[in-house]
Symmetry: D2
Subunit: 142 residues, 4 copies
């Protein structure tokens, strides 16, 4: 399963180099991740109400082109690995082309690994039913 999200670059997200500040790409990945989970039979907000929290354990971003103010960025999100405590997501970010333009430029590739933690912050296995729900995103992921 792959889900696509679109975010428009805000003025607040630019820096004085005239492009989007690099840390914001991780925020856009979070938007993609939230949307992927929403496409399953649950939301991340609901997961938290059930006592499961996903903390980011590792993040990697390779930047290829700069997103600019008012660009629409398309975030394609995939769940690439699911274990009892750990999930890995991959993100492909593109600039959505202006109407009539040929194709979107690749902006970045990223991945994040999240760890399931209790409300006290200790690593815990995710409940079986949540793993089953998340597992749907793995099937056919390519």
């Amino acid at each position: 399963m792959m889900t696509a999200s679109e975010v428009r670059v805000r003025y607040a997200e630019t820096d004085q180099m005239g492009v989007a500040y690099h840390a914001n790409y991780l925020v856009w990945c979070e938007v993609g991740r939230t949307d992927l989970i929403r496409h399953l039979d649950i939301t991340y907000a609901e997961m938290e109400r059930q006592g499961v929290r996903l903390a980011v354990a590792d993040a990697q971003v390779r930047y290829q082109a700069s997103a600019r103010y008012d660009d629409v960025v398309r975030v394609e999100t995939r769940l690439t690995s699911l274990r009892s405590r750990l999930l890995t997501f991959r993100y492909d970010l593109f600039r959505v082309p202006e109407p009539g333009a040929f194709e979107g430029e690749r902006l970045a590739t990223a991945s994040t690994t999240l760890i399931s933690v209790s409300s006290e912050g200790r690593p815990v296995a995710m409940p079986r039913h949540l793993r089953d729900i998340l597992g749907q995103a793995l099937l056919g992921s390519d």
Copy 2:
């Protein structure tokens, strides 16, 4: 009582106009407010552990000059009003001059009114001992 805090403008805080993005001034005011409370016999982190939360009910900022990347901004904070549920802080923001320069330029004046809320978000009177502690900041406020 007046407390002074210094923050150095981060690249992340600039925007493509080449200056600090305006919403960040409210973040610097929060740094000033946290420092003022720290100078009393408590920290805001400790207040929260005692179940008191201060939510911002009103914020006003008048911008006079632009803070730039790597500028040191001095935030002077005063508590100007204290009632059972409401506190008002005033902030004067200056650019700290380079060594040898005459005086710091005024960047902005701001005020925020905070309301005491329970952990469920309902307005509640602050406990007596907290109002007494905060009241120390009012005395001699000028």
Copy 3:
């Protein structure tokens, strides 16, 4: 003219009080302002390429209810005043209700006054054609 924008509250925008951090409301107002201008015959990105920059000179926010993670926030934006160098926008922010719910709760009311500045940051009158374009947003504003 009134334009409506929707933003979904990001995890990055929450704070440990469990609600959206107050300074982010100013960012959402910026999204509303950008969208209002886009509905005219220009974009703010294009205005900047023409050498006009709008710096925030004054901002006021009155917070009425807390936006929460994953809420959809509706920002209604109006241009309420237009002079040679100054523009004032008003914003009404609501929580978009869940499907089936009766109506959206008001989250905040805000206003910002912007000043037209040259690329060196000095106040300048806006070019005539830009004022004419922006003036369309005033007509019928209510």
Copy 4:
């Protein structure tokens, strides 16, 4: 050469999990990088005025413990590689212990690779004198 910077976690930087939002670690790394350059005979602000811009090409963060509101985070920064267009920095982030506590907990390890770009965003070799200045940070780096 290793430089150490300290940042205090702001309320704005927390999220509803009650810890610092993960993308902010990259902002703190930027603070460390700016400080390392400041310890040489130049500042990054001055480098930009000379037409050199460093864009982030790759970022990696491994998170080990959560930074919390009001924690003081110590960022130790090292320049680990310097080529004509590329620089790599490594960052070790620790929680500064309370007075009397034994030692600081490790929060994260990170690295970023930056690429020298022209003001139009094209990769360019850094001027010789800048590489010489930056090279001082490599010597004795461990």
